[in-house]
């Protein structure tokens, strides 16, 4: 974990409303593991003081890239960042996804910026599997070609049917799953809460492994403030686990979902 003043080297529209921000970060770039994230201090955020976490989409010896969608105060304020501006980042943060278990068949499930979060994992995985991507419209299904290039079978679903099957990710996943050697599946999931929960439930019901990247609001990002906690099951009940340091990736069985 390092704090680095990173220079913007690329910043433009990526797809639909999504934008890509590429930062020169020679200290953080080389040490990123798939599923980790950055904590970014947005310049010109007016009177707001907290950083915002972003999954690392790409990383190499020179820097990192993230994909984001302007949806609120922070992400809106990132728009005016120009090439050459500097951004204060802390990273890489979080545990990231574990290695694929021997003999398991990898499945990626993602929604929205979750696609970005899984790209490095897709690249690293030795065996190529199937990627289920869900979104509201075709615009929310990111990086399809990139995943295909890596050798993955990409199966998009959209709420409006503008790309792939019409429905939720589960609309496509459930029948597919039924035809697999279910217990050999190992899922790597990153997406909105309901998607995480749906996949987690299936993992438990059908007895496969699902690594879920949890999306919780953060303050410190380094484990100090205890903002980002979720309930993790332990033998006699539950304990709090911090998404920023104990996660963001948890196996479905670890999580006690809030009612």
């Amino acid at each position: 974990m390092k704090q680095e003043i990173a220079t913007v080297v690329e910043h433009h529209n990526f797809q639909g409303e999504y934008r890509i921000l590429r930062l020169a970060a020679p200290e953080i770039g080389p040490v990123v593991k798939p599923g980790q994230f950055l904590h970014l201090l947005i310049p010109q955020l007016g009177d707001r003081v907290l950083r915002r976490p972003f999954s690392i989409y790409k990383a190499d010896t020179e820097g990192v890239s993230i994909l984001y969608k302007p949806v609120g105060r922070g992400t809106d304020s990132m728009r005016p960042l120009h090439v050459g501006d500097t951004v204060d980042i802390i990273g890489p943060l979080g545990n990231g996804y574990p290695e694929l278990t021997e003999g398991k068949f990898p499945v990626l499930v993602a929604g929205g910026y979750g696609n970005a979060a899984l790209y490095l994992k897709a690249k690293e995985l030795p065996a190529k599997g199937v990627a289920f991507f869900g979104g509201r419209t075709a615009e929310d299904i990111l990086c399809v070609d990139e995943f295909k290039e890596l050798g993955w079978e990409v199966r998009p679903t959209t709420n409006d049917g503008s790309l792939g099957i019409k429905g939720l990710v589960t609309t496509d996943f459930d029948p597919w799953m039924a035809e697999q050697d279910i217990q050999s599946l190992e899922l790597f999931v990153c997406g909105p809460g309901p998607m995480l929960k749906a996949m987690g439930e299936r993992a438990i019901e059908h007895d496969f492994t699902a690594w879920l990247s949890m999306d919780e609001n953060m303050a410190c990002g380094v484990g100090a403030c205890l903002t980002c906690v979720i309930k993790r099951k332990i033998t006699d009940g539950w304990e709090w686990a911090r998404c920023c340091t104990d996660g963001p990736v948890f196996e479905s069985r670890e999580i006690l979902w809030n009612e």
């Binding site: 704090q3 003081v49 410190c220 205890l226 979720i230 809030n258």
Partner: protein, 305 residues
Amino acid sequence: MSKPNLEVKIGSMVMKNPVTVASGTFGYGPEYADLVDLNRLGAITVKGICPDETIGNPTPRTFETRGGMLNAIGLPGPGAQGFIDKYIPFLSQYDVPVIVNIWGKSMEDYGTVVEMLDAEDTVSAYEINLSCPNVKEAGSAFGTDTDSFSRVIELVRGKTKKPIIPKLAPNVSDIGAFAKAAEEAGADAISIMNSYPAMAINIETLKPELANRTGGLSGPPIKPIAIKLVWDAFKATTLPIIGMGGIYEPEDAIEFMIAGATSVAVGTANFTDPSTVDRVIAGIEHYLVEKEHRSAFDIVGTVKT
């Protein structure tokens, strides 16, 4: 010119510079160790500890407001024994005093937690949290009534020879009365201020933004309130004061010292920029050099009124 002496003392605890961190904003030490050179700090103040393991409040626990944040973490923690097991080995590696922030669900708890911790050499001092806005027991019950406030301090005083530092509630009309009460009850210093009781409501859901409904406001918004409280307390007591509330820049820390704080704590700013403590220490030194002071203590309480 020779370098100014940054050292200050809080009771018998020597800090190599006036800067510590605010309890609850720096974990127990390891969390920021990659980003901050812990040995550079005047002291490490850890998150609140009570005798038993505690779970704190439900989520959401924090909320960003204009200029600052609300928190209602609710003092989750490993308990005294858990703290000793999990964090003392780590903390003892460093050459920096450790201030343990303590709290209790009952008055007795404050004594118990000190009894459990006091044999640890790594524990240098106790900050007694009597002002948590998020836990009824540790907050309004003891912090806003001088009688029970004094009794908690006397109880802790009876259990330890280490410096004890009650942390005062800001939401009182007369902080001077609490400062005096702390002095009379045997405290070695006081710390001011905890986050200020506050609230935010989501106008779409009609629900409070924090699961606990209310929380504590911290960060830059509260600095001018904290400066006044420190100055008021400074006039009322001879005890050293650890000042905090919205310190983001060296100038903020210096302002606290001029108002009467011997030591200062960086809180919310750690989240924004973990290099704040480092910048603040350097900035205080720079200011002392520029103004030709020999020691950090020279500027404490020098406000011209």
